[in-house]
Assembly symmetry: C2
Homo-oligomer: 444 residues x 2
């Protein structure tokens, strides 16, 4: 086991995690200067007579609220953020409620109604700060008029099973909800709205993060209907869902907020943290340790085991020919892979990625690969991901685990545990894209 | 359609193909200096009293023989090479025969027997030049004593369906054959043997190219038995196969040639061309055109559509952030992907790779991706691969083709044809790994 290199990669990953910690992200982008709130270079007048409201949703929203209070102090009038179980932290004026995630529940529904009430009362001269982070879509679920939470959940289940793409699912979801697709911004009008966004979606498309409550929605009721028909679930969704979409097609219920809407003049969206920030922090940390670093991509996607093979092909080239950069080399990527579950094992996408790669780097000296869910949770396990090297496969075999069989069973967790290659961080409090680090010390 | 960039990528690919053309490869590594044959810096005395024999097998063997004759002229005494249908070229002293590929046939069997006879007669003082290229394993099939061609073919079919890895299949194949796994070198002893190898196996492992007829075999009869048992086909293989392996386990038939065997002192193996050479030529050609180039890997592997996604993630990063190198950028890879066939369409691994990538780069400006089977044949099609850009998906839709549906049906050929994105070269006469080129002109 190349402990030195492994330790270095883990140190680099920790620095990347620190760079996307919610408080760090808020502090980096937000400051107070006299009576002005500065956000990434733009200045917003603090309310003189009006109120400063804070609302938020997502796994990091409580931490973001606490950091914001640290900057704005007593200037925050009131607020409410919804976060997932276990993600609550102490705050001063902003109330924090916990709700169901990833399956929405009645607590989230009640909180969403209170947020609607709060922002609906906002007036010209008020400032609404919206704290958005990953998981927000499930945590901030408020069905459109005439629909129930069950209607949304059943539709969502059908969409997930249909093979529809995430953009297609979002087109449907936004047209069944009060707050998604710019709905929150519309309710807050005419107050000034500043959204601080911690992105967990690779590439940071604003309209996809937490279903874009404060950004325009390019999709229409026609798109929603087309998606349900294309995947053959139009007849299967609840009657109320069909009725709403049909009403939308007849122009009887309003469309989601469109890009040309003047309401957007009152909204300002800023990405304060993302997988991109994590990769850049990793590159910087690696460079300080003497690695030659390259960021490969911040929109990594694909089947986890296949992505693992690609990384092992990169590792072999680095070891054998010192390409694409001469070692000590660090290749960095962020994104989100997927796992097509075929077996009955336990694992997550990051663990499966590194298990697959371990087979491709078996026996290679001076190589380590780390893959990590930045929220500290990879699949339904207590691990955040895994960290493998050229000796991983041998350690697994010595412990009586057949790595190929484990991979076939989607049992990455037990295989990595046997090799001492699980990464366990506990909840990190943040949630951006997954981070992948390939380090090669010698070769070429 | 970014015709300029597409033309440039295609020009780069053509130069890479030229660099791995069999005659070019032979000329680059072999020369005659007085009475010495120089191969990559090593000198071999031409026979004074003895004979210079040439044998070979593989898709490129006839062209390699012709190029060698061009260098050695009348010094070649005689020879015989086996190639696939349509790959014959005129030669002077070396006879060329065509045989079945990828399914071995009686012509290949007859040729293998003649080659055995030829090299078995070689004596001390003779020089045997062996020309090895991809496809050689099927073209040079000679069952071990007591086995029939049908026995081998049936065993091979079972192995292919079993999920065994290529190294595992080769362990079995080598123990059922006369010539594989160092067998040819043993027959030629005590003559001096020089093997010139055009590698179609990513990473160029000598013992895998054409099943390593002139290199040691690290595997044993025990390994062969273990593989058949592990994949549950021990009871299904022909009785003669089981009997031979059992005899081998009892030490009653000789093992394949092992690394410590003194016979190896008389053998010299040189890779004259490979995917690695193609990538290096592509990098050079790209650099001349002003691209900043990186070779990512020469051992690319994995499911073609997933590899395509990885390349589209690389393309997005290049366009958006100018990483990992500032455009104009050229990323180069070589290897061999796989296609798990689920649909009923027509295509090949290179075509499926670029079709998948086309979906991930839809609408992006200044991007093109090329993937090419260097033998000019990708799957059971008349295309060598495909060349896509940001407009490919729109062109497909305009032609009435749904690219997602085509991908789901493994119908990359028709989808690419509709977009004008097939690459058709005809047989190139060479056969190294597949070549992938990603070009990005603007961005960052």
């Amino acid at each position: 086991m190349d402990k030195g290199l492994r330790d270095e990669l883990w140190g680099i990953a920790r620095q990347a995690l620190a760079a996307v910690a919610p408080d760090e992200c808020i502090r980096r982008h937000v400051s107070l200067e006299g009576e002005k709130l500065l956000v990434n270079g733009s200045a917003f007048q603090l309310p003189r007579k009006g109120r400063l409201l804070v609302v938020g949703f997502g796994k990091a929203s409580a931490r973001m609220a606490a950091a914001l209070e640290g900057i704005l102090g007593g200037r925050v009038d009131c607020g409410l953020v919804v976060t997932a179980e276990g993600y609550k932290v102490p705050t001063d004026r902003v109330e924090v409620v916990e709700a169901g995630h990833p399956v929405p529940d009645s607590r989230g529904l009640a909180a969403a109604k209170r947020i609607v009430k709060l922002v609906s009362q906002a007036e010209e001269g008020d400032l609404v700060v919206v704290l958005i982070s990953g998981g927000g879509s499930a945590l901030l679920t408020l069905p459109a008029e005439g629909l129930s939470l069950q209607d949304l959940m059943h539709t969502n289940k059908l969409l997930l099973e249909s093979g529809a793409k995430i953009q297609e699912m979002n087109a449907v979801r936004k047209h069944l909800s009060c707050l998604k697709g710019g709905g929150l911004l519309r309710l807050a009008h005419p107050a000034q709205v500043v959204s601080l966004i911690l992105s967990d979606v690779p590439g940071d498309p604003l309209d996809s993060i937490a279903s874009g409550p404060t950004v325009p929605d390019p999709t229409t009721f026609r798109d929603a209907a087309r998606v349900l028909r294309r995947y053959g679930i139009w007849e299967e969704v609840p009657e109320g869902v069909r009725a709403r979409i049909e009403a939308g097609l007849r122009g009887e219920v309003p469309e989601t907020l469109k890009p040309h809407d003047p309401v957007f003049a009152r909204g300002h969206n800023v990405i304060v943290g993302s997988g991109r920030v994590a990769t850049e922090a990793a590159l910087e940390a690696g460079t300080r340790l003497g690695f030659r670093g390259l960021i490969l991509t911040t929109t990594l996607e694909g089947e986890a085991r296949e992505v693992g093979k690609f990384f092992s092909a990169l590792a072999r080239e680095l070891v054998r020919f010192g390409r694409p950069v001469a070692p000590p080399a660090l290749l960095v990527a962020a994104g989100e892979t997927t796992v097509t579950v075929r077996g009955k094992g336990k694992g997550g996408r990051n663990q499966e990625l590194v298990l697959s790669a371990a087979l491709g780097i078996e026996g290679l000296p001076g190589v380590a690969l780390l893959s990590l869910g930045t929220d500290g949770r990879d699949g339904p396990t207590d691990a955040a991901g895994g960290l493998v090297d050229g000796g991983t496969v041998a350690r697994m075999r010595a412990a009586g685990v057949e790595p190929e069989a484990a991979l076939a069973e989607n049992d990455s967790y037990h295989a990595l545990r046997a090799a001492g290659d699980l990464l366990i961080t506990g909840p990190t409090g943040t949630n951006v894209a997954d981070l992948v680090l390939l380090g090669v010390k010698e070769g070429g």
